[in-house]
């Protein structure tokens, strides 16, 4: 049985080589990859962000994983997001095993799973990574096909660039590949193989254009290196954004020397690596001796010009220090920056809430929660047009700008009608500024402020027109109890 399969794959592999323009030596495709490919069946359940005490109906999705180290399966984070159960399946063994998430990074869309039964890994060997893959190179995408086969679909790497990853809002290195999935969908963490080794995982697939976006092995190896025994240490984040210095008038104005490139720093995020180090208006010329051109590209030895973000994320770790050469107020400077990780808590508006429920608090029938991208998406397919204009603006323009006095945007979602909130019942989507005289920076502040009613009242003040609503301290507990019963809300607050 095994022998037959191997021959079949070899034939396919040879065919792939014959058809491709790449004059490579004949190498047998994927004998190592094949045993390490697994199938994942995930049941997941998302929170209803407009009624945050509720979960939506559970649903399921399937994808792929591959064994990358003893006892560890690599897959994309979007496959296992919000999982209530993960079933793992090997090709020749029809049993389902239970998978568990050991490490997950939503920004880089990668996850490592373990399996409850260690014997699962007995006949699977970890696949090696191949980072050196070039544009024009053929690759194979492996998929399971019923009843019991692995298919290898041919593809070609057509692009290497820094792009937005699927789940979060951060950008990392990607491969773009032309792949024909025939009548199937794709983009479910399929293994992308080059000369028998893992070149990447497929993150998304556009069936119309037959174009796949792949997480490259170079990023995967950074992820695996960060997933050490002391916990996951994450990726370095530069903590600033910038724009090109192509316009001659701009270069003249900033006195950028001819021949130098430079990134014009436009934004320094308050909680990022560059806070206190770089300033808007700086022109960044070099990172650790590597020059940046006028569009912010550095020269990668294999792939040519790539955005500076790739340099930071791939070659450095949180805790590393880098030397920055820049021009500030017409003078050249060298400064040192310690690279930090960028955490979910560093966003003003978290771009995802998966992995944990959204924090909320219901008080006097008023549903208080923090603004997240998921909350905006509750406005449906056209959420960019239909969502509340102020909340959308905050996400769009201030995503990475929490301030000391405002770590999150705490809002009144809406009011569950009850006698105690008569007169307030039409209010919705207002931003909370103060509770009981205390300014609100994040939702925990609300809970704390509610411990200190003033003169027998709890007073909520909103930004919009400074309008306020007031609840009597007395009778509130009973009202909340009634509201909880009336509306079927088991937990009136979730703050952790």
């Amino acid at each position: 049985m095994i022998g037959t399969v191997k021959i079949y794959l070899t034939v396919l592999g040879l065919t792939g080589i014959l058809l491709s323009p790449w004059p490579a030596a004949a190498s047998s495709p994927a004998p190592a990859a094949e045993p390490s490919l697994v199938r994942l069946h995930v049941t997941y359940q998302e929170t209803d962000y407009s009624s945050p005490w509720k979960q939506r109906r559970e649903d399921s999705r399937s994808g792929y994983g591959c064994v990358v180290s003893p006892g560890r399966i690599l897959t994309t984070a979007d496959i296992v997001k919000d999982a209530t159960m993960i079933k793992v399946e090997k090709r020749r063994d029809k049993r389902y095993y239970q998978g568990r998430i050991e490490v997950i990074d939503y920004d880089v869309d990668l996850a490592l799973l373990s399996v409850d039964d260690d014997s699962f890994f007995a006949d699977l060997h970890p696949i090696e990574l191949e980072e050196r893959v070039e544009v024009g190179q053929p690759v194979q995408v492996l998929i399971f096909e019923e009843p019991d086969r692995i298919r290898s679909l041919p593809g070609t790497i057509v692009k290497v660039s820094v792009e937005h990853y699927y789940l979060g809002v951060e950008r990392f290195l990607t491969f773009g590949a032309a792949v024909n999935f025939e009548d199937r969908g794709g983009g479910w963490s399929e293994a992308v193989i080059s000369e028998g080794k893992l070149a990447g995982l497929m993150m998304t697939y556009d069936g119309q254009r037959q174009y796949a976006v792949i997480i490259p092995a170079a990023i995967i190896s950074r992820f695996l290196a960060a997933a050490g025994s002391e916990g996951y240490s994450g990726f370095a984040h530069e903590g600033f954004s910038g724009t090109d210095t192509l316009a001659p008038a701009l270069r003249e104005f900033l006195r950028i020397p001819d021949g130098a490139g430079g990134v014009y720093v436009t934004d320094v995020y308050p909680r990022g690596s560059a806070a206190g180090v770089l300033r808007p208006g700086d022109v960044l010329l070099e990172i650790d001796g590597r020059p940046l051109d006028a569009e912010g590209y550095y020269e990668d030895p294999l792939w040519g010009p790539l955005e500076y973000r790739d340099l930071i994320t791939r070659f450095y770790r949180p805790g590393d220090r880098v030397e920055l050469k820049l021009i500030r107020e017409e003078e050249e400077l060298q400064v040192e920056m310690e690279l930090r990780r960028w955490l979910l808590s560093d966003y003003l508006v978290p771009p995802y809430s998966c992995g944990f429920s959204t924090r909320y608090l219901i008080f006097g029938g008023a549903i208080i929660q923090e603004l997240t991208l998921d909350y905006l998406k509750e406005w449906g397919g056209q959420w960019r047009q239909r969502a509340n204009k102020k909340l959308f603006y905050q996400y769009y323009h201030n995503l990475r700008r929490p301030l000391p006095g405002r770590k999150r945007i705490v809002l009144l979602n809406r009011v569950l009608p009850h006698e105690i909130n008569l007169g307030y019942q039409g209010l919705e989507d207002l931003v909370l500024a103060e509770v009981n005289g205390r300014p609100i920076s994040q939702i925990g502040d609300v809970a704390e402020a509610l411990g200190f009613p003033e003169g027998g009242f709890h007073r909520f003040v909103f930004e919009e027109f400074g309008r306020e609503i007031v609840f009597p301290a007395e009778g509130l507990e009973e009202a909340d109890r009634q509201i909880s019963l009336q509306y079927g809300i088991p937990r009136m607050r979730l703050l952790e």
């Binding site: 724009t243 192509l246 316009a247 001659p248 008038a249 701009l250 003249e252 104005f253 014009y264 436009t266 934004d267 808007p280 960019r384 047009q385 204009k389 102020k390 959308f392 603006y393 769009y396 323009h397 105690i420 909130n421 008569l422 007169g423 307030y424 003169g455 009242f457 007073r459 930004e463 919009e464 027109f465 400074g466 309008r467 306020e468 609503i469 007031v470 609840f471 009597p472």
Partner: protein, 498 residues
Amino acid sequence: MKRSALLVFGAVLVPLVPAAAVEEAEVLRIRKAIVKIKNVSQRPDYASPWLEKDFSIGRGSGVIIPGNRILTSAHVVSDSRYLEVEKEDSGTPYGAVVSHIGHDCDLALLEVLDPGFFQGTTSLDFHREIPPLGTMVEAYGFPVGGRRITVTRGVVSRIDYTLYHHTARDYHLIAQIDAAVNPGNSGGPVLRDGKIAGIVFQGVQPSENVGHVIPITVIDHFLEDIADGRYDGYPDLGIVTVNLLNPAYRSFAGLPEGKTGVAVAALLEGHSARGLVNPGDLLLEIDGNPILNDGTILIEGESYFLEEVVERKQAGEEVLLEIFREGEEIAVPIPLRKSREPLKTGNEYESKPEYLIFAGLLFQPLSREYLKAVNGNSSDRSDPRLVYYFNYYNQDRIYRERPEIVVLSRVLAAPVNQYYSGIAQRVVDRVNGAEIYALADLERAFTRPERGCHLVEFAGGGPPVVLDAAAAAEEHGKILERYRIPADRYLSPPGEDF
């Protein structure tokens, strides 16, 4: 007039009721007062503000009132380039002009150039009160689909505040009737006992049996206002109130026992009560009318929002507010003045868009018309910052930092600005170091380049626009020529509003 014939038909909705159903002489008299209006209008293009859009032809109705004047709805005759009126069955159009127009109440008066037009016509008088609910009324006009006059009949089904769609920002009373009316009816009268009870002006949807009528109170306000020869418009208190329905809130706010009222949350810039009324005040009475906890008052037994008192007054008059402030009841007179708002939140008419072009950079003030032009048919092309500033200008006190929100709308490509061709819809913070609070500030700011460059900085940070000053000066005129722009700016003279 005999009523019995009308009662036979009750509240049945029947378009094109045969004239024989009503007293024929009366109907003939009425028909001689109804005119057909044709308006050729042309609106400016707020996306390319030196241009006008194509003209369009609209039709509506009007009614002759004493003094050889024709009363109609403003939206029938707005932005007019050519105006014609015609009597029923005469076959002769006459040229007309708009003599007075009130966009904030959607009313207008026309004059016919040839006074001979009025031979053989009659004029109708006004019914002095808003018809009570359930009153039968008739709408006369020239709705779409007919060349001759049409009369439809229905009852007054609701009297309430509603948005007047013409400006999309003004609220006044309407009477809602359940007679079939459609766009051609606009400007035509609704009659009760042969007298004008209102002017048909908008519907919930075209051709449905719900029509909105401008009631006599609004018409009176308009006619009183123009008595001095000029339309000044509705003054506004500009008080943002909050209801006191919640007992805990009433107690917290300190509303005295036995009293009712509303709490003041904020005062709007540029409106009459600013500086005289404070946030935290409780409004108890307006002109002696006690205010209920939901913000309503009773006038002759009918419930209205407290603003109705102001609705019936002109700029220059006064309202008296009874206010509870810091434990005391005080009487505060509020002189009513014309409202001024730097941000134009309504649709604009008979106006020229303001703009300024410098070296191909097109600057415009943020306004409703601007956003409409940018969005086209979908609303996903406007920058979220602009939309936020527009919608929350008052609520979030954006006016404090930015009285006028100046936008770099787009860039007319030329060598001097070629690196910035993609820039659009950015809110301007500073030009050459000078803070920009209004479009006019740009004129001076662009005369002061620093170090041979013009620097434009935007709200929220982000990359600035830097132009070589010498190149800008040289190319400015050429860009206007290349894009066939007759003038590099239009700024409305100071003191002119609306």
